[in-house]
């Protein structure tokens, strides 16, 4: 059981990392969601094996209950990720409305400094972007 969960977490991290490394903002957001899910899953795994619900009442042996702390932590983390993902989606929409593309561009100042050093080698930024889309 734990091994399967670990494998799932590993896959989530792998796919998420691949998506984060893309240029399109929508893919990056999906990638971040997957990576956060992987991290949350890891916390649940870190809590050990399951047990009876952690509600202490008469007739419940404390040794058999599931660890409630990782669940509380994961709930908090999920809420935070949810909020930030919503913000990022709003940003992606803003970026699309302002620039008409979904791409994350290079820093213009970095490009300027790079051009000063290598005036010829620096490729045309638009060309560079099309390559990634293709």
């Amino acid at each position: 059981m734990s091994l399967i969960s670990l494998a799932v977490a590993a896959i989530l991290f792998g796919v998420g990392t691949y998506l984060i490394l893309q240029r399109a903002l929508s893919r990056i957001i999906i990638g971040l969601g997957l990576v956060s899910h992987g991290a949350n899953l890891l916390i649940v795994i870190g809590g050990g094996f399951g047990g009876v619900p952690p509600i202490l009442s008469e007739g419940v042996d404390p040794a058999t209950v599931a660890d409630p702390l990782p669940q509380a932590m994961v709930l908090t983390a999920i809420v935070i990720t949810f909020g930030v993902t919503a913000l990022l989606l709003a940003l992606a929409l803003r970026s699309y409305l302002l620039t008409g593309t979904d791409e994350v561009e290079d820093d213009p100042e970095d490009r300027r400094v790079a051009r000063e050093v290598h005036p010829v080698v620096e490729p045309d930024p638009d060309e560079d972007m099309h390559e990634v889309v293709a």
């Binding site: 984060i20 903002l25 990056i28 971040l32 990576v35 956060s36 992987g38 991290a39 949350n40 890891l42 916390i43 795994i45 870190g46 809590g47 050990g48 702390l69 990782p70 932590m73 908090t76 983390a77 935070i80 909020g83 930030v84 913000l87 990022l88 940003l91 992606a92 803003r94 970026s95 302002l98 620039t99 994350v104 561009e105 820093d107 213009p108 100042e109 970095d110 400094v113």
Partner: protein, 488 residues
């Protein structure tokens, strides 16, 4: 006095909620924001006095005992950093209100600013790894929104990279929490300190390195700094000033806290010293290549972080004393420099060095405010940076670490060079076109920050003694652990 700990976080949060409730009544919002931030400053000072006299102040929120509940701790180190941070938050709030239209343009500026305040206070005061995550997130979410409101294409672009990098760091932080909890069964820092020494040393070393990476991204350490100079300069002046002054320093604070409390070791750490040296050199070289006031200053944040890590790398009382002094000095000076950068932009409409000039003749007051801060950043006596740098160099020489001392002195010289670049392009030369006039409110707020930086020099001796007491406390984790967990 332990009620001060949760209220230093809760009062600004409560005020943030109330600013939303009062709606578009600017005067009421301003009063609430000022109250919330000033309360945190007052609480921080009270905690500092208390922690200095009677040892760490501890509160168990909700009444649950230590490893299970939420622990808040203020020892000398966290109280010092919180006091300086809160003082800067008050000054920058005054600047934001004085910069006509900044808070009127954005109705929820005060709410976000108060959440940022609460997040900073929580990150500094928490005694628990997961609450540290929550504190970081509060701080960062407020910062995302502060960066993006009323933005054009360039800000959206740079904010996206800022948010994405920080989210990746947050995901890594969650992984760190999962591994730590899986390996030790606790996320309470004091409890962790005991349990980490009982588990396999390889696992504990791995956790230590993961912590360094996670908090290194937040602090802007080499080689994890690249997001910082890209995102900070595009924000409005008061926002950049508070980010530059506080956010990375919270990362440094956490690095120092975790390395000293969880992974105590003897003697200087070559890894940390290498990272410190590389951070200094790369930051300052980046600054020299730039041609914009705010971008130069942003690269300097990175280079200065190196000095703090250098103090930690010595892992001695004198080294940590210097690191604490450096953090204190740096928070004030960096906030002040970005506020002056904002003044330059207000006066000339831009911070690009090829379009500014002649400000010395037109508004000498701006030059007067810039000079002590710039010289202090470079470590020229008698300004505050000199006191901190001298302490670092003395300890480096005493420990026989000549390479890092030489690097730090050379970087100081290059810092001076890039400050001269700002000075000659902005204050000398042909007067550029006037774009506006900085009001008396913003000038007064900046002057207060400059005066605070000068006060660091004037009161250097008591401050060094206080920092030395804080450093001694840091190097004896037993004090912290006993305060949190009780006699056991």
């Amino acid at each position: 006095m332990s009620w001060l700990l949760p209220s230093a976080i809760a009062v600004p949060l409560l005020a943030a909620g109330l600013t939303v409730l009062v709606g578009r009544r600017l005067a009421a919002q301003r009063v609430l924001a000022a109250t919330g931030v000033t309360f945190t400053l007052g609480a921080a000072i009270a905690l500092l006095v208390q922690a200095d006299r009677g040892g760490p102040v501890v509160a168990q929120v909700g009444g649950w005992a230590a490893p299970a509940g939420i622990t808040l701790v203020a020892d000398r180190f966290s109280a010092i950093v919180l006091t300086v941070s809160a003082a800067m938050l008050v000054a920058v709030l005054a600047y934001a209100v004085g910069q006509l239209g900044r808070d009127a343009l954005d109705w929820w500026f005060h709410a976000k600013y108060l959440v940022l305040t609460a997040g900073v206070a929580m990150s500094l005061l928490t005694g628990d790894l997961f609450n540290l995550f929550v504190g970081f997130e509060m701080m960062l979410i407020a910062s995302y929104v502060l960066l993006t409101v009323r933005t054009g294409p360039s800000q959206v672009r740079s904010t996206v990279s800022y948010v994405v990098i920080n989210l990746v760091a947050s995901a890594l932080f969650l992984v760190l929490i999962a591994f730590t909890y899986g390996a030790t069964g606790t996320v309470n820092l004091a409890d962790l300190a005991g349990r980490l020494s009982e588990i396999d040393p390889a696992v504990s070393e791995g956790l230590g390195l993961l912590m360094l990476v996670v908090f290194g991204i937040k602090a802007g350490l080499f080689p994890l700094f690249m997001w910082l100079p890209d995102s900070y300069p595009t924000a409005p002046a008061p926002v950049t000033a508070i980010f530059a002054g506080l956010l990375t320093k919270v990362g440094v604070f956490v690095i120092i806290r975790t390395q000293t409390l969880l992974f105590p070791s003897e003697g200087p750490s070559t890894l940390l010293l290498f990272v410190a040296g590389a951070t200094m050199v790369v930051g300052v070289l980046g600054a020299i290549a730039q041609n914009d006031v705010k971008r130069i200053l942003s690269f300097h944040i990175i280079s200065q972080i190196g000095y703090m890590i250098m103090g930690l790398g010595f892992l001695s009382v004198a080294g940590l004393t210097a690191a604490i002094l450096y953090i204190t000095h740096h928070i004030v000076v960096k906030t002040g420099l970005f506020l002056v950068g904002g003044l330059v932009e207000t006066e000339q409409g831009t911070g690009a060095l090829h379009r500014t000039g002649g400000l010395l003749h037109r508004r000498p007051i701006v030059a007067v405010l810039f000079l002590p801060l710039a010289l202090s950043l470079a470590g020229i006596p008698p300004f505050s940076g000199f006191v901190a740098k001298l302490a670092l160099v003395q300890e480096g020489v005493a420990l026989g670490r000549g390479v890092i001392v030489a690097v730090s002195l050379a970087v100081g010289l290059l810092t001076l060079f890039s400050m001269t670049k700002i000075w000659s392009a902005t204050f000398w030369g042909e007067p550029a076109e006037s774009a506006g006039r900085a009001g008396s409110g913003v000038l007064a707020a900046t002057a207060v920050v400059v005066a605070t930086s000068l006060a660091v020099t004037v009161f250097a001796q008591p401050l060094i003694e206080l920092s030395a007491r804080a450093a001694t406390e840091l190097l004896d984790p037993a004090i912290y652990i006993t305060a949190v967990l009780g006699g056991g």
